[in-house]
């Protein structure tokens, strides 16, 4: 406990780094998987193809992906960009299916009503389908956020600094306190992400709280 208090500055700066490495990919992944999920709902064959490819990407173990990206992208091994891209890939892999499921779950009568009211295809997607899919998408985003926070800490093995540093450093120095501080900090960060996503989803879907 005293160790944690003595190192508060370091904990916060690494937590900030961690939040950045885990959070930015969530946004990138969401922005990319919305059109992908929409494509998947358009045609069954597209759906199978997209979900197979994203599913295969998701199978690549994180440490292997962190190491394989630099030669593929021409980046430096220690460049945090590798982690951002790797995490974006995992986020897309998780969210494409969720977005497709969320869009497919929109009630047909609602969709027909929107068409009858004169919505264009894109207008209907933006104003009707997508907002109604928010609860499902948010649920997927929560899963992705928690898994991102956990996976990012692995990057400390290849020397990218974030909360995972406490894990590797504590292990190298045989100092369990530091490892536990790292674990708890990761858990708290995951909790913060989870709460923020829940809050955003609540604010964006006021109609779900209307009671007759």
């Amino acid at each position: 406990m005293t160790w944690a208090l003595d190192h508060l500055d370091e904990i916060f700066s690494l937590a900030g780094q961690h939040a950045w490495l885990a959070g930015l990919p969530l946004l990138i992944g969401l922005v990319i998987s919305i059109p992908l999920g929409w494509l998947a709902t358009r045609k069954a064959s597209l759906r199978t193809g997209l979900l197979t490819v994203t599913g295969l990407l998701y199978t690549i173990p994180s440490l292997a992906l962190f190491i394989l990206l630099p030669p593929l992208l021409g980046t430096k091994v220690l460049d945090p960009v590798n982690v951002i891209i790797a995490m974006s890939i995992y986020t897309i892999a998780l969210l494409t299916r969720t977005v497709a499921d969320g869009l497919a779950a929109v009630d047909t009568s609602t969709r027909q009503a929107a068409v009858a009211m004169g919505y264009s295809t894109f207008g209907r997607f933006r104003a009707v389908d997508l907002p109604l899919a928010i609860p499902v998408v948010a649920a997927g985003l929560r899963v992705a956020a928690v898994s991102n926070v956990s996976i990012v800490s692995v990057a400390s093995l290849i020397g990218i600094s974030q909360l995972g540093y406490f894990l590797t450093d504590g292990y190298a120095r045989s100092f369990p306190t530091e490892v536990w501080v790292g674990i708890i900090a990761c858990l708290l960060l995951a909790l913060v992400f989870d709460l923020v996503i829940q809050l955003l989803a609540r604010v964006l879907t006021p109609w779900t709280r209307v009671t007759a």
Binding site: T59, I60, G164, T168, V179, W180, C186
Partner: protein
Amino acid sequence: MITFATVWAWFTDPANWQGSDGVPTRTLQHLEYTFITLALALAVAVPVGAWVGHSGRMRWLVTGANAARAIPTLGLLFAVSMLVSPLFTSGLAFTVPSIAVLVLLAIPPLLSGTYAGIESVDPAARDAARGMGMSGWEVLTGVELPCAMPLFLSGLRSATLQVIATATIAASISLGGLGRYLIDGLASQDYVQMVAGSILVALLALVADLVLALLERFAVSPGISGRGQSVSRRRRLRLRRGRARDTAASVKNSTDAPLSADPA
């Protein structure tokens, strides 16, 4: 500099294919850890998940296991190895903590897959089975478990991937397997070896996932998966033919009726 040629040279170097550090040995080790872990995790997760799903009691077990997934795997590996390693003096000091963590990580997806599969069984199917006089055990093994197959297998798939990925990371606490190439390569700045090891790990994960996807095709009853349109079309045809036969039979019965009624 890392190029296709240098990685290719690594893969074609016969020295990398033999001995205790060769690709076959490392791959077998990796598979061995994966199988041991999955066997132990299945032995715990399936009975517990089936019981929770069947009885509807102690659901907090599943919720708790899912919440535990937020613990960073790397931290869990280090923490458990620091706690457990001093208890062993032999080479087991490195293997036991790693396997223990791998089992801990494999349990949540298996548990929630089994539980969710049984939970999602149509209550009408369950009631029908009971109405036919099946005992609780028969309902579980004859109806609920087969119906739970698809979700259970997707839990098995994610557990397998999780184990393969984490066994790689566990090389940092001295476990063998393909992860050695990544961690040893890092220590000796042999980047080519790291890339080659990463390719092998990624391939292993892909192959394992494909094998399980195939298993899914064979292990799930066609009546549940609705596999391909062909099954449902065939069934629809059979139904239609059945109905036609029924109509034909009733017509025949009505014409036969006076005759058949006579002897009676």
